[in-house]
């Protein structure tokens, strides 16, 4: 079965297919694409959160007062490829403080507070210049150390994906340049301005995981991008990199949806793209890989779109991880007078931040500031009228209204059976719901409940196993003891008999001796 699908997936990008549902949204991207990329200057302080992606918070590897160079490791989780965090500039660690960390929940977390010394001096860099001949495992090792995560917004550790891909064997690398969320244009600007680093990243990733070819997917409405990438491919001399344009339908940039469009195959529920022999990475992630290998630089910056009708001069900025968002806004001419909501991410999946003192994190693809007119006052929530619009637009083919019903009635098993965990939280159902039910919020809550129930069950399972193992051990020991006792008894009895025999023999011998006398 896997082989069959593997073969079909080899043709990725040759014919385009459709995925179920989705929305055609207004892009609102042009406003942020008019000015070129620009670097954000050093702020007075960096606040680098030690929690950058799902999982545990990394442990700080620096202490207050320590001097760091740009690119020095300041946080580490000990686990391969996860939680590697590096200093965004050279300077002094002023504190390890609990501060807002731009997390969806709005919670605080530990941040490394760095005061720049203004020199912006790199640590000693060790580029792998001969990456064409380097051992793929060496390339993967470098990716693990460089703190690279998926920069499309999901921030899944790249090393984990790359290691898994090379273990299972893949044939096609897909670079995702389909930025389907309205307002966000950081990938589009990257592809326009730095196509060479994307192509370089593609070739390195291809070698690191042993893929035969690369497909770079972009949207059909990204004008200049296609030619920029094609020219770069020609310059690089690579013959195994293709550029494919796909229609702009939200959420086509979702990994599963893009794979379905390129191959006509669905990633198995609960499975991964590697089940189809594919590895999917964001284009910005590819440039991070290129920089880590060819220049030896870890991930300390990313492109951030600063846009929306609440921003005076929307544009894309190159921002280091840890710089406060207010510095980005200042560089874009500040807020307009009716700015009302600050969002990290896009208008569909982004989350509202309570303050612009929050730092830029690895997941921050967009800082979106909207006015009251853009969002309107929230409408009151009404009961579901089962209109089914949510099911019509769901790209995962779920029945959101049914899931909502099951979650609100705490029917966790049913919700699991109806595919709650297959929800990609794209928000299409939320968008079309006439009753204004915050469906995705319900689904996040439901998923958290289901996983905590599962871990409880797992713990109970472990406890039961332990109990059963103990019972078995006790029975075994009891049996053992009994056996030993029996043996001893036998032995004793045997002993007594032997002694008796010996005594008999002795007495017989004595009597013989007596007779001989």
């Amino acid at each position: 079965m896997r082989n069959e699908r593997l073969e079909q997936a080899r043709n990725a990008g040759q014919h385009l297919h459709h995925f179920h549902g989705g929305l055609r949204l207004r892009h609102n991207k042009k406003i942020s694409c008019e000015l070129p990329l620009e670097q954000v200057p050093l702020p007075p302080r960096f606040y680098v959160p030690l929690l950058q992606h799902s999982g545990q918070e990394a442990k700080a590897t620096v202490v207050t007062g320590e001097k760091v160079l740009k690119g020095d490791r300041i946080g580490y989780l000990g686990e391969a490829g996860r939680g590697c965090i590096h200093a965004p500039t050279s300077g002094t660690v002023k504190a390890l403080a609990r501060r807002p960390i731009s997390h969806p929940s709005g919670m605080n977390g530990l941040c490394v507070v760095i005061e720049p010394d203004g020199l912006d001096q790199w640590k000693e860099l060790h580029p792998i210049t001969d990456w064409r001949k380097a051992d793929p495992s060496l390339l993967r090792q470098r990716i693990r150390e460089s703190g690279i995560v998926g920069l499309g917004g999901a921030v899944f550790p790249t090393a984990v994906k790359v290691d898994e891909a090379s273990e299972r064997g893949i044939h096609t690398l897909i670079l995702n340049g389909v930025e389907c969320e309205p307002y966000i244009s950081c990938d589009e600007m990257l592809m326009r301005e730095q196509p060479d680093s994307i192509i370089l990243g593609a070739r390195i990733l291809q070698r690191a995981v042993g893929a035969d070819r690369t497909v770079i997917a972009i949207e059909d409405q990204m004008g200049a991008v296609s030619s920029a990438l094609k020219e770069s491919v020609t310059r690089s001399g690579a013959s195994d990199i293709e550029i494919v344009k796909v229609a702009t339908i939200y959420p086509e940039g979702g990994e599963k949806q893009l794979i379905q469009v390129l191959t006509g195959l669905e990633v198995p529920s609960g499975g991964r793209p590697s089940d189809l022999g594919l590895l999917c990475q964001n284009v910005a992630t590819a440039t991070a890989v290129a920089r880590a290998i060819a220049e030896g630089k870890p991930l300390i910056e990313r492109i951030v779109t600063v846009t929306g009708s609440g921003i005076s001069r929307p544009r894309n900025l190159v921002a280091r991880i840890g710089v406060p968002i207010e510095n980005l806004v200042d560089q874009c001419g500040g807020y307009t007078k009716d700015a009302a909501r600050l969002i990290l991410g896009g208008a569909m999946m982004g989350y509202a931040l309570g303050s612009d003192g929050n730092p830029v994190i690895k997941a921050a693809n967009c800082v979106l500031v909207l006015t009251e007119f853009d969002i309107r006052t929230p409408q009151p929530e009404m009961p579901c009228i089962r209109c089914g619009e949510c099911a019509r637009v769901c790209p995962a083919l779920l029945l959101p209204q049914q899931l909502h019903w099951q979650i609100s009635n705490q029917q966790w098993d049913d919700a699991g059976e109806y595919g709650l965990t297959d929800c990609i939280e794209c928000g299409c159902c939320d968008f079309v719901c006439p009753s204004h039910i915050p469906l995705v919020e319900w689904f996040r809550f439901g998923k958290a409940e289901i996983s905590s129930i599962a871990s409880e069950r797992a713990q109970a399972g472990v406890a039961r196993q332990k109990y059963e193992a103990r019972e078995a051990r006790l029975t075994r020991e009891k049996a053992e003891r009994r056996r030993r006792m029996e043996e001893k008894k036998h032995a004793l009895r045997d002993d007594a008999q032997r002694k008796k025999k010996i005594a008999e023999a002795i007495s017989r011998a004595r009597s013989r001796q007596d007779e001989e006398k």
């Binding site: 379905q260 207010e326 209109c387 995962a396 719901c433």
Partner: protein, 343 residues
């Protein structure tokens, strides 16, 4: 100095639909049919609509108060108005005022709020109300008017009001003189008397396909229905399957026995079939969720309607068919779940 912002949930877009919006579009789509109704049968229907809407909103407010629900929010969702209008379109235009009262009592209080209010009801409220008055007051519910073009006397607004509120016709008029059997009744009575459908069709109440006037009203309902399809307020599955199954089954029975079965087009243009196909059986709350489920639901309503018209105790079967399929909807939903992506 960092600036503070109020937060809110994604997606960060202004809402572009609402329950009230959906209901208003339904009412707008009914408007052409209602205008045609008034054109052919006089102003009685307008008074029935006003009566039903008044009672419906009254009962709705009463029940919302009793259930401690926000009154303005739910009165503003227009769902009770839709129920009332659909009910009014099913009763005879000269029915006495208390028909609307009793109908709305059962529709809004029993079928809607005792089941948990908006979105929770198992049965279509308008059809519950209609079936209750149809079964309880069969004589009153059989007093239909002929289209004004063939009527011996067209009632004025004053005469209509008097009739509805006093329960009897003004002085010189009598029911025998002005009321007329509906086309479906005419066929039924004619078949019962041992005549052929073709003989029954000689009655002046028939038009080209269905009843005179009725077929045009059906056309305008269909026009509104197509607009709803285009606006994606309803999906095509139920109307196509409902009308399609009546057409196919009607054709088969007509070909098998043309003497006792009308041509399929007559079935489609008679009674509440078109109204039901676009506006009643498409009610999302009491129907099926998945598209496959909706196909089955629509076909079920169509087939049951035809069976009831042919062998049941009532000339039209749309209301009964819808209620029967409402009962089956949860079961159909259970077995027509779409396959989850990747499974």
């Amino acid at each position: 100095m960092s600036r503070k912002f109020a937060t809110g949930g994604a997606p960060h877009f202004p809402p572009h639909t609402s329950v009230a919006g959906v209901m208003q579009q339904l009412l707008l789509a009914l408007a052409p049919g209602i205008v045609a109704y008034i054109w052919f049968f006089g102003p009685g229907i307008l008074i029935q609509i006003l009566l039903a809407v008044t009672f419906a909103l009254g009962f709705e407010a009463l029940m919302l108060t009793a259930r401690k629900q926000p009154i303005r929010l739910f009165l503003g969702d227009w769902s009770a108005v839709v129920t009332a209008v659909l009910f009014a379109l099913c009763v005879p235009p000269l029915a006495p005022w208390w028909i609307a009262l009793i109908g709305m009592l059962f529709a809004i209080v029993l079928a809607k709020h005792l089941y948990g209010g908006l979105g929770q009801n198992l049965f279509n409220p308008a059809m519950v109300g209609y079936v209750v008055v149809l079964i309880s007051f069969p004589q009153v519910m059989a007093l239909w008017l002929p289209p004004s073009s063939i009527a011996s006397h067209s009632l004025s607004i004053g005469e209509t009001l008097t009739t509805i509120f006093s329960g009897s016709l003004p002085a010189p008029l009598s029911w025998d003189a002005i009321s007329e059997a509906t086309p479906l009744d005419a066929i039924r009575a004619s078949l019962a008397a041992g005549n052929m459908v073709s003989e029954a069709r000689l009655s002046p109440v028939f038009g080209d396909f269905g009843g005179l006037g009725w077929e045009w009203i059906a056309n305008f309902y269909a026009l509104g229905g197509l607009w709803l399809l285009w606006r994606r307020v309803i999906s095509w599955h139920v109307p196509v399957m409902m009308i399609g199954s009546v057409a196919v089954l009607g054709l088969v029975s007509y070909l098998a026995d043309p003497g006792s079965n009308p041509v399929p087009l007559q079935h489609i243009f008679s009674g509440a079939l078109v109204l039901g196909a676009f506006f009643i059986a498409t009610d999302p709350v009491t129907g099926c969720v998945s598209n496959r489920g909706r196909l089955i639901f629509g076909a079920g309503v169509g087939v049951l309607t035809l069976l009831i018209r042919r062998w049941g105790g009532y000339p039209d079967g749309v209301a009964f068919a819808v209620l029967l399929m409402n009962m089956a909807a949860p079961l159909i939903d259970r077995y027509t779940r779409p396959r989850i992506s990747g499974q």
